[in-house]
C-alpha cells in the first residue's frame, strides 16, 4: 500500500515535470531540425544556429543586453551597498521610511514602472535637456529596479555584524572611509555578491521595463517579443536553446560555488 502511494506521488511529479519541460524539449529538438516543419523530422542540421550569427539585429540586442546588465549591476551595487551602510547607521524613523520606499519599485507592477519612467524621460527630453530614449535611459531604469535587490541583500549582513567592530576600527585610528572599505565591506561581501548576482539576473531577464524605456534600442527580450508577435521561426528556437543552456550552466556554476562556500 505504501509503495502504491509512493508510486502515485512519483507519477504526479513526473506529470508536472512533463508539463513544464515538454515545450522546452520540443523547442530544443526543433532547433536542430533541417526543415521548418513542426511535425516532421527532416534531418539534423545546425543551419538555424548558423543563421543566428548572420542576424545582426539579434547580435546587436545581445550586445545591448550585456552592456545594460553589467552597467546597471555595477552602478546598483555601489548605490545599494552605500545606501545599506547609510540606512543601517541612521535613525529608525528615517531608515523605516527609506526601506518602505525601496519596497515600492519591487511591488509596483512592471508595466506601471515602465510607463512612468518613460513619461518622465520624454518630459525631461522635451523640456529640460536632451535625453533621447536609448541604451542610457534603459540603464537608468535598470539601476532603479536592481538597486533595492542589492540593498535587501546587504542589509541583513550589516545587521548580523557586531556594531562595535566599526567603533573599534575608528578607535584604532581608521578614518571613517577606511573603516568602511577595510572593515565593513569585507564583512558584508557575501551579501554584496548575492545582491550583484540578483541584480544581474533581473537585468538580463527584464522585458517590460526595457520595452518602455529603451525607445528604438532593443535588448534580447524585446527582440524575442517583437519576433514572437510575427509568429514562431526556427532560428528563435536556436536562440532559446542557447539561452536555456547558458542559464543552466550559470546556475550549476553558482550552485557549485555556494556548496563549496558552505563546506569551507
Amino acid at each position: 500500500m505504501k509503495r502504491f502511494f509512493k508510486g502515485l506521488k512519483g507519477s504526479y511529479i513526473a506529470l508536472v515535470l512533463l508539463f513544464l519541460y515538454s515545450p522546452i524539449a520540443i523547442m530544443i529538438i526543433l532547433s536542430f531540425n533541417e526543415g521548418k516543419s513542426r511535425a516532421n523530422w527532416q534531418g539534423f542540421s545546425l543551419k538555424w544556429y548558423a543563421s543566428l550569427l548572420d542576424n545582426s539585429k539579434l547580435m546587436d540586442a545581445l550586445e545591448v543586453t550585456l552592456i545594460v546588465a553589467f552597467a546597471a549591476t555595477l552602478a546598483s551595487v555601489v548605490l545599494g551597498t552605500l545606501g545599506a551602510i547609510g540606512i543601517h547607521a541612521c535613525k529608525k524613523k528615517y531608515s523605516t521610511a527609506l526601506i518602505n520606499l525601496s519596497y515600492l519599485p519591487m511591488t509596483m507592477p512592471d508595466i506601471v514602472t515602465g510607463v512612468s519612467l518613460m513619461m518622465m524621460m520624454v518630459f525631461i527630453n522635451k523640456y529640460l535637456f536632451t535625453l533621447p530614449r536609448g541604451m542610457f535611459t534603459m540603464i537608468l531604469a535598470h539601476i532603479t529596479f536592481d538597486t533595492p535587490y542589492v540593498l535587501f541583500s546587504v542589509l541583513p549582513k550589516l545587521r548580523q555584524m557586531d556594531p562595535n567592530t566599526y567603533e573599534a576600527a575608528l578607535d584604532l585610528g581608521c578614518t571613517p572611509m577606511e573603516a568602511i572599505t577595510d572593515v565593513i565591506i569585507p564583512e558584508i561581501k557575501p551579501g554584496i555578491i548575492t545582491g550583484a548576482l540578483l541584480a544581474l539576473t533581473m537585468s538580463l531577464d527584464d522585458f517590460v521595463i526595457s520595452y518602455f524605456t529603451g525607445g528604438y534600442v532593443q535588448n534580447l527580450s524585446v527582440v524575442v517579443y517583437s519576433a514572437a508577435k510575427l509568429g514562431v521561426t526556427p532560428d528563435m528556437y536556436a536562440m532559446s536553446t542557447i539561452m536555456f543552456v547558458t542559464v543552466l550552466t550559470l546556475l550549476i556554476v553558482v550552485n557549485k560555488r555556494s556548496t563549496l562556500e558552505s563546506i569551507s
Partner: protein, 272 residues
C-alpha cells in the same frame, strides 16, 4: 562625515526614479490634452468596455492562481515529504524554468499551440480536424499557468518543509487520522506559503500583457494590453495613466486583502 550620509545618493535616486515618475502618472491621469484638470480619464476607465477588460483580467488571473494552487500544492507537498527527501534535484527541476526568460517560455508554448504548431500537426497526422488553439482564452490561461506554476510551488514547499514535525506527531498520537491531520494541522500551518504563492502568481498574471498578446494573438485583451496599447500605439498617455492608476489600486487592494487573511489565519492557528 557621518555614516548615515551614505544613504544620501540612494535616497535621492529612489525619489528621482520612483516617486517623480509616479507624479507623472498621477498628473497625466488627472489632466486632459491641454493640461487642464479633469476626472474624464478616470471616468472613461469605468466605462463598460474597460470594466469588461478589467473583469476579464481579474478572472483570468484568479483562474490561473486557482489552477496553479491545485496543481502546485500537491507537488510542493510531495516534494517536501519524507518519500522524496533524497531527491532534492526533482525540486530544483521544478524551479528551473523560473530562471528561463518568460518570453522564451511563452515562445515554447506558442510552438505547441500555433495553427501549424506541434499539437495541430500531430492532430492532422492522426487524421483529425485541426483545432483553433492560439488566440483563444484557453491558450492565454495555459500560458499563464505554464509560466507561473513554479512561483506557487516554491513558497508552499518552504512552508511545508518548515513545519514542526512534533506538532504533526502530536496530532497523530492524539488519534487524528491522516486526513484529519492534513486538514486540521498541516494545511493551516502551510497557509503563509499558500498566501505568498497566491501573491507571486496573481500579481504578475493580472498585470501581464506579453502573454495575452502573444498567446491571445491580440484577441484577448487584458488590462496590461490596454495600457500598453494606449502608450505605444494610440499615444493617449492621459487614459493610459488613468488605467495605470486603476492597476495600482487593484494591486494594493489585493495585497491588503492577502495580508489580512494571513494575519487572521496565523492568529487562529496560534489560538488553536
Amino acid at each position: 562625515m557621518k555614516r548615515s550620509f551614505f544613504s544620501g545618493p540612494y535616497a535621492l535616486w529612489m525619489v528621482l526614479f520612483t516617486i517623480f515618475p509616479l507624479i507623472f502618472v498621477a498628473f497625466y491621469a488627472l489632466t486632459d490634452k491641454n493640461g487642464a484638470f479633469t476626472f474624464a480619464n478616470l471616468a472613461q476607465g469605468f466605462e463598460n468596455d474597460y470594466m469588461k477588460v478589467l473583469w476579464r483580467s481579474i478572472r483570468l488571473a484568479l483562474e490561473c492562481t486557482a489552477i496553479c494552487l491545485l496543481l502546485g500544492y500537491p507537488c510542493a507537498y510531495i516534494l517536501a515529504g519524507k518519500d522524496f527527501s533524497r531527491h532534492k534535484s526533482l525540486f530544483v527541476l521544478i524551479l528551473l524554468p523560473m530562471w528561463m526568460n518568460f518570453l522564451l517560455r511563452t515562445y515554447a508554448t506558442m510552438t505547441l499551440l500555433e495553427d501549424t504548431g506541434v499539437i495541430n500537426s500531430l492532430l492532422e497526422k492522426l487524421g483529425m480536424q485541426p483545432k483553433k488553439l492560439i488566440g483563444t482564452r484557453g491558450a492565454v490561461l495555459f500560458g499563464m499557468v505554464y509560466n507561473y506554476l513554479p512561483f506557487m510551488v516554491l513558497p508552499i514547499h518552504t512552508s511545508v518543509k518548515k513545519m514542526d514535525e512534533r506538532v504533526i506527531e502530536a496530532a497523530q498520537d492524539l488519534g487524528a487520522n491522516p486526513v484529519r491531520v492534513f486538514f486540521r494541522v498541516k494545511l493551516p500551518l502551510s497557509v503563509p506559503g499558500i498566501i505568498s504563492g497566491i501573491s507571486m502568481v496573481f500579481m504578475p498574471s493580472v498585470t501581464t500583457f506579453a502573454i495575452s498578446r502573444l498567446l491571445g494573438s491580440g484577441m484577448i485583451h487584458m488590462l496590461g494590453d490596454t495600457i500598453e496599447n494606449q502608450f505605444m500605439t494610440l499615444n493617449n498617455w492621459q487614459f493610459g495613466s488613468a488605467l495605470s492608476l486603476v492597476m495600482m489600486a487593484l494591486i494594493l487592494l489585493s495585497m491588503g486583502l492577502l495580508n489580512r487573511i494571513d494575519i487572521n489565519k496565523s492568529e487562529r492557528t496560534n489560538n488553536w
